[in-house]
């Protein structure tokens, strides 16, 4: 490991020692108590190299190297987008080992999705770490998948630079077993007239936390953040998003939807921040929770923090059960209650997915997860 990365790792280690796992008194973790994670700290760090990396070799315009082979300039970007005062970021970074650096060359469009597929098949902790750089005018589709079949922790960190005029579509699916704990970070900086679209599926892990931080750094930059929580049993899933309109004329659109069965707990905390002098901003956010289980819970904290006046920002948040009138309507047309409910939940979910076009990732990998979730929830085995 280079000197710079080693010192980053060490300072993160020190940061984490003083922070510790946050409890509910830490505002950002108000609804996700991580103070019980102490016992996992000693778990073995296990490497889970993504499968499918081989498929990415030999693609024109794509460079895939480990950090030690990357230029000093690229190495400097590692750790620059995630704040170490966040305990999860500090913890992950303290375990920094291998960093994979993907660079998409200037004005190159890569048709094939860049798939980073992680399956943790043993107890322990894994710390996947990526730096993704889309150079000016580049275009690509990034796919992250996290699965695990045993207890332990997955703590991935992905830092993304979408340089001026570049476009990135980013699919992230987390479908780990409920025994697993997932603590992830996604941080992106979006340059002038660049476009970043992040779509997250959170269906797995007993305790999940996903931090997303997007900085719109150049005028004309745009971000879409779309997310789904599909929860059941005793799962707790927390998406914590932060969109920083750091430049004028930037726009953001955010939609998060949670379907919560059993006694699961869905948490969405999303802040739109508009810096001073960032004029002509449009930022819209919607978070919606659908409660299916008798002890299901939704905790939403949408937030606007605005220091410029020429802005149009809004957020909306709704939490409730399925619409009784619509349910009645469907049943009156002869559809059994459970089927009617399922149809409505599908509609609720599809609302997020429908304008994503014909992405193969959705078809091949997300839809089966969604179907499985729906049949589990509506099979009647959701007593608690």
């Amino acid at each position: 490991m280079s000197q710079a990365l080693e010192s980053l790792r060490q300072s993160a280690d020190q940061r984490f020692s003083s922070l510790g796992w946050p409890n509910r008194r830490v505002e950002a973790y108000k609804y996700s108590d991580l103070s019980g994670l102490k016992q996992l700290e000693t778990a073995d760090a296990i490497a889970t190299p993504p499968s499918g990396l081989d498929a990415l070799t030999g693609i024109d315009g794509l460079s895939l190297v480990s950090a030690s082979q990357a230029s000093a300039e690229l190495q400097d970007k590692i750790g620059s987008l995630i704040p170490l005062d966040d305990a999860v970021a500090a913890y992950s970074t303290a375990h920094l080992d291998e960093v994979i650096v993907l660079t998409i060359a200037r004005n190159t469009k890569i048709e094939q999705p860049l798939v980073l597929d992680h399956g943790r098949m043993a107890t322990g902790s894994s710390f996947p770490r990526y730096l993704v750089v889309l150079e000016k005018g580049a275009e690509a589709e990034l796919v992250e998948r996290y699965a695990a079949n045993s207890d332990g922790m997955t703590c991935p960190v992905v830092e993304i630079f979408v340089e001026p005029g570049a476009q990135l579509k980013h699919y992230r699916a987390q479908t780990e077993a409920v025994a697993s704990t997932h603590l992830g970070w996604t941080a992106a900086e979006v340059g002038r007239d660049a476009n970043y679209r992040h779509i997250a599926l959170n269906q797995g892990a007993g305790l999940a936390r996903h931090n997303i931080r997007v900085t719109l750094a150049g005028t004309g930059a745009h971000v879409d953040l779309l997310g789904l929580h599909l929860l059941q049993g005793k799962q707790s899933c927390d998406s914590h998003t932060y969109i920083n309109h750091a430049a004028p004329n930037t726009t953001s659109n955010e939609v998060y939807k949670s379907v919560v069965a059993g006694s699961a707990n869905s948490i969405f905390q999303g802040k739109i921040y508009v810096a001073k002098d960032s004029q002509k901003i449009e930022g819209n956010q919607m978070s919606r929770g659908l409660l299916l289980g008798p002890r299901a819970r939704v905790n939403n904290k949408p937030e606007l923090e605005i220091y410029a006046d020429d802005v149009i920002c809004s957020h909306g948040s709704t939490v409730g059960a399925l619409d009784e009138a619509a349910l009645f309507y469907l049943r009156a047309r002869g559809i059994p209650a459970d089927r009617a409910k399922q149809i409505m939940v599908e509609a609720f979910i599809n609302d997020v997915l429908e304008d994503l076009g014909d992405a193969s990732e959705l078809e091949a990998h997300w839809q089966p997860v969604i179907n499985e979730y729906l049949s589990a929830v509506f099979a009647g085995d959701q007593a608690d």
């Binding site: 819970r297 939704v298 905790n299 939403n300 606007l304 948040s317």
Partner: protein, 485 residues
């Protein structure tokens, strides 16, 4: 933009010039020594001839307060307060012997209220509104006492109620906001001086609006009023408070506690027009307004409606809340907050849904101008037993000028699947299209802005009792006069 700079300059000038309540009344004061300790608490209690239980209650609060820390989560910042640098009791000497009637009250005091637009004497008093006038630490006078007594309504300074209705005060005091609820509530419990007590008995619809007018006058003095309103079954009362203070260079402290208790099918409508001195254009002086207001809807189908127009104070920390315990109970919060110059306000509400089919509604309109910072902070909480509960929240912020901030921090916690919460928030500036439209029809920019802003806050203004809506509307316009270049 030149226009914006000009705007800020003009707003500055006008808001200071238009604080017409900034005068000081020169009366001889009786004060206890500066500082805060157990002896001071004992002295306050002795000044008020309080019973033993109340002194013990105060001392307990004081001890707990010394172990607590000032909350730091609100989005406001101010230099550390030296709580030993205030006077905790200040009363005009002339009131020491409890004047029996207005004829015995120092004319200077009566004149003060007259200048504030709240005449207390028989001929001029506001028709249909009973007023309790609190001057620093004591009540000056309460009007229409007899008429209210006939109806069975108790409306008197809380220190008088402690003497005359100890059983009622002891039964309810601190049951909504416990002494240790928060730092400022604990402080208030230890040193509160006056405030109003209202009891509306079963089945009584209070025949007139009740109103308390708070005035801070003395230098370096904190005001710690305590208001307790109990509305028994099927009763109704509408209560309004107003507040002003002289212009002073030092910051003054105001930490109030208001407790409302509403029984079966009863309703309290509580309105506030808060116009404490906001400080000058450089943020010098002004009131620190740290207030805990909470209502408990204990009875079935009970209802509380908080309406506030907040234009004053240097720093505001205030979240009038409703605990909706009774099945079918309702809570409402209507708020207009305007900040200008260097004012900071962190305000909002909490709606805690405990009972079945409880309803709440939040309409908040914030306007930030100058270099001010304003935050709406709210909590809507649906507890597991809140079957069928509903909330609707609309929270809009308007920005005037590019050096102010507007923030929205709602917490939505739902633990009952049959409950429904709907929250909407927007932040924007006055639309150019609206301004152009009004100007094309012949209005100058200032007039157009006033009109548009008035439209923006209309939904809340119309919740105020008639007698005060006009005054509040004028206050909104004054606060924004000169806001466009």
């Amino acid at each position: 933009m030149a226009a914006t700079v000009d705007t800020v300059e003009r707003v500055k000038k006008i808001s200071v010039e238009t604080y017409k309540y900034g005068f000081e009344t020169d009366v001889e004061m009786d004060r206890i020594p500066k500082g805060l300790n157990e002896d001071i608490v004992r002295m306050i209690s002795a000044k008020k001839n309080e019973p033993e239980w109340l002194l013990d209650w105060r001392l307990e609060a004081y001890r707990r307060w010394t172990q607590m820390e000032e909350p730091d989560w609100a989005k406001v910042s101010f230099p550390k307060i030296d709580y030993n640098d205030y006077y905790y009791y200040a009363a005009p000497k002339s009131l020491a012997d409890k004047p029996k009637s207005l004829d015995e009250v120092d004319p200077k005091l009566l004149d003060t209220y007259k200048r504030l637009g709240i005449p207390l004497d028989e001929q001029e008093r506001l028709a249909g509104v009973a007023v309790d006038a609190v001057f620093d630490s004591v009540s000056v006078a309460t009007t229409f006492k007899h008429k209210l007594e006939e109806a069975g309504v108790i409306f008197m300074p809380i220190s008088e109620a402690v003497a005359k209705h100890p059983e009622l005060v002891q039964k309810y005091l601190g049951t909504v906001v416990p002494t240790t609820d928060n730092y400022f509530a604990a402080l208030n419990s230890a040193v509160f001086t006056d405030g109003s007590f209202v009891y509306v008995p079963k089945g009584v619809r209070c025949p007139m609006e009740l109103s308390t007018y708070f005035r801070i006058n003395a230098q370096e003095t904190g005001q710690f009023e305590r208001t307790l309103i109990v509305c028994d079954d099927d009763a109704y009362v509408s209560y309004l408070e107003g507040c002003t203070a002289p212009m002073r260079d030092e910051n003054q402290l105001h930490a109030a506690v208001v407790e409302l208790i509403v029984m079966d099918n009863a309703e309290i409508k509580y309105s506030t027009v808060q116009n404490w001195y906001p400080g000058d254009e450089n943020g010098k002086g002004g009131i620190y307004n740290f207030v805990t207001k909470r209502a408990q809807c204990r009875g079935v189908n009970s209802k509380v409606s908080w309406t506030q127009v907040e234009t004053g104070s240097a720093v505001t920390w205030k979240y009038p809340s409703c605990v909706l315990q009774g099945d079918g109970s309702q809570g409402e919060f209507y708020s207009i907050a305007i900040t200008n110059n260097l004012q900071q306000a962190d305000t909002g509400t909490k709606m805690i849904h405990v009972g079945k089919n409880t309803r709440s509604r939040i309409i908040s309109k914030g306007i930030s101008a100058g270099r001010s910072d304003q935050t709406y902070r709210g909590l809507v909480k649906m507890l597991p037993k809140a079957q069928g509960a509903r909330n609707f929240t609309q929270c809009d912020s308007l920005l005037i000028g590019d050096r102010c901030g507007a923030h929205t921090v709602p917490y939505i916690e739902v633990a009952n699947p049959s409950a429904a919460v709907e929250h909407e928030a927007t932040t924007s500036k006055v639309s150019d299209d609206q301004l152009f439209y009004c100007r094309q029809r012949g209005m100058n920019e200032e007039k157009a802005l006033a009109l548009i802003v008035n439209g923006f806050v209309k939904e809340v203004l119309q919740e105020l009792p008639m007698e005060f809506a006009v005054e509040a509307q004028a206050l909104v316009e004054i606060s924004l006069e000169g806001s466009v270049g």
